[in-house]
Symmetry: C2
Subunit: 392 residues, 2 copies
């Protein structure tokens, strides 16, 4: 096991109707002039935004609003948010939405207190301070409500880049599973895929002897295998929604990832897809992750056997371990298909002829990839090609 620090100071406020307590938590964590940051119309139409505003008013907290966050959130809106915060003397950013809104809020929070261009943080500069961020989560997916990570897309060139720092971990996050009940099945499945990917990126490691985090990873994955089909079949199933929502946090606050080298190549490969095609991140992952697994499987067949047997219930074939390993990957892809996810380029709306562009933008030779298997540009191209022709 590797040495590590683990710090997850977010207060999680979980359960039915708890968004009505938002104002109390904003005040508890020092907010007096708040930017409410949100996406499109659903937070407005559902009445969620009104509930949140009411709870702020009850606590005498002033607020300003900035909506319009898109999936794959853009740098342009972050700049706008930074300006607004400076102009109005805002001291707290409240994200009401899913991963895109939370990530955008983190970008603003880091940018407001930084003299330079906030994009520096997405090009390798470490965030050391930021305005406090609070969250009301509306989609189980990104896990951004419990993480210090943020992914922003530079509109010019659709360049998707990430940053991460404990300074960006939210002070509190409200998680009400009921808020996710109206999500369409497709978005629900995209979120579930993202959650599983966050675990797999940590699970595949060259670090030996990390049984505790291996087992915790498997716990989250098995939970997702059970709960996702239930919620696709019955969107109003509170308990299934609740299990997925908490699994989404556990998958990404790094409790399942400490003590080990991680990979994150699938996320990198996917970011170029959603960057280029503006597709849902989870959908892109559904196409890329099993393809990546097939490409790297031979690097550590026994680790894939462990996944196959422990998570997917495959019988170990002791005469042919690789067969077991590949059966695990096959079951993962079959699962993704069963919940309505695309499994190849055509289903995603991606094009084989764009592979050189994707590989070029990925820029794997700049040292960002590694972890389980370091990928060359040619490796990345091959994974995209596997994803082109993937079938059940």
């Amino acid at each position: 096991m590797n040495d590590f620090n683990f710090y997850s100071p977010t207060e999680f406020v979980f359960g039915r109707g708890r968004e009505c307590e938002t104002g109390r938590y904003v005040k508890k964590y020092g907010g007096s002039r708040v930017l409410i940051h949100f996406g499109g119309g659903s937070a407005v139409k559902s009445g969620l935004l009104d509930k949140v505003k009411k709870s702020l008013e009850e606590e005498g907290v002033a607020y300003f609003e900035l909506g319009g966050v898109k999936p794959n959130p853009r740098d342009t809106l972050v700049y706008e948010g930074i300006e607004l915060c400076r102009r109005e003397g805002i001291d707290f950013i409240l994200a009401v939405g899913g991963g895109s809104v939370i990530d955008s809020a983190k970008g603003i929070a880091a940018g407001v207190v930084y003299e330079g261009d906030f994009w520096d943080f997405y090009c390798g500069k470490k965030v050391v301070k930021a305005l406090p961020v609070g969250v009301v989560v509306t989609i189980s997916a990104a896990g951004s409500e419990g993480s210090g990570d943020s992914v922003i897309t530079k509109e010019e060139g659709m360049l998707k880049r990430a940053t991460g720092s404990d300074a960006l971990r939210p002070r509190f996050s409200v998680l009400d599973p009921e808020l996710t009940m109206t999500l369409p099945a497709y978005q629900t499945a995209c979120g579930a895929t993202d959650i599983m990917a966050h675990v797999f990126e940590r699970y595949f490691t060259n670090t030996k002897e990390v049984e505790i985090t291996d087992r915790l990873c498997e716990a989250v994955l098995m939970t997702m295998l059970r709960e996702t089909p239930r919620v696709i079949a019955d969107p109003k199933n509170y308990d299934a929604r609740a299990n997925i929502m908490w699994a989404g946090m556990v998958a990404h606050n790094n409790i399942v990832g400490v003590g080990r080298e991680q990979d994150w190549n699938s996320h990198g490969l996917e970011h170029e897809l959603s960057g280029l095609y503006d597709c849902a991140h989870g959908a892109g992952l559904a196409v890329i992750m099993p393809a990546w697994m097939e490409f790297v499987c031979k690097h550590d067949v026994m680790r894939f056997c462990q996944m196959a047997t422990r998570v997917f219930g495959v019988d170990m074939d002791f005469t042919d371990p690789e067969k077991t390993a590949r059966e695990g990957i096959r079951r993962f892809r079959t699962f993704l298909h069963s919940i309505g996810m695309p499994i190849n380029f055509a289903e995603l709306g991606a094009k084989e002829e764009d592979i050189p562009v994707l590989v070029e933008k990925l820029g794997v030779d700049d040292g960002r990839t590694g972890g389980f298997v370091h990928l060359s540009s040619e490796d990345a191209a091959e994974i995209y090609r596997i994803a082109v022709k993937a079938e059940l």
Copy 2:
């Protein structure tokens, strides 16, 4: 799933030699005049205390010392610590030791800033503020390094009582698995038993549909089944020590316990044993926990079947589920015996004729017990009687 708040703001500093960074973390979390609280001679003899003091000196942090914490830490030393802190204007408590030292430090931290008798907090009063506490852990067991809990024994009458509050969660905890390598096998096994018990107290619940925390519980238990025998066989196995140490934190900061009713009756029943006989808490749990399981098994046979099959690898007997359930309990007791734990009263040094005294002190009719199965005094007596005659 039940509604909940989860808040675990402790910064965990995990790995080889990291106790040398203690001073830096004390300073980071606001300590300038520190009480170093510790137990007997081992922290002195091993040189650990010197390392910690050196790291404080390097940061220019003043310190005072209070050693002498015993297993089942006493109120008398807590009073002494409170006096010392007030006299010297101490602003930070640094616990260097295991669960007893950490619990004693928490008692002091709560007491210093409270006008009344700190024992109030162990009789039901809620701790709302306390001095900040930091920890250097030397034993994997209590999980007190990541929890807001503290258990103190009132010397007069050997009354063992608990308190819990987020205000008592340590600001940081240093966990260096190497520090646990010199622990005797018996203490190591006691610690492992305590860790497993912390999980089981959460696992047995009447709350339905908590798959994510069920799976996380099982992850910790399976880790302990793998790593404990390895460390008993090879005390210097760093990775096994590391997995157990992190499992011990995960088992008790409540990440595996949220969203569900918990039980804690086994801990209550055990506290009377270690209160009366001053035996190791883990050893008492090894005697009590399987006995408690046997007594409550019929309350929810399928939950015990889940434990038996998922954790202990028992083949489900579909014609006789209770047989499966009881086989799981049998394997748990066999495991405890295999790591050198006592499994009945005689092996623990407890006496059947004391059962009325134990039941009397437990005072189960005061409403403290409940959770999975509410126990009457007669139920408690029966569990003790099962523990008297337990065999493999």
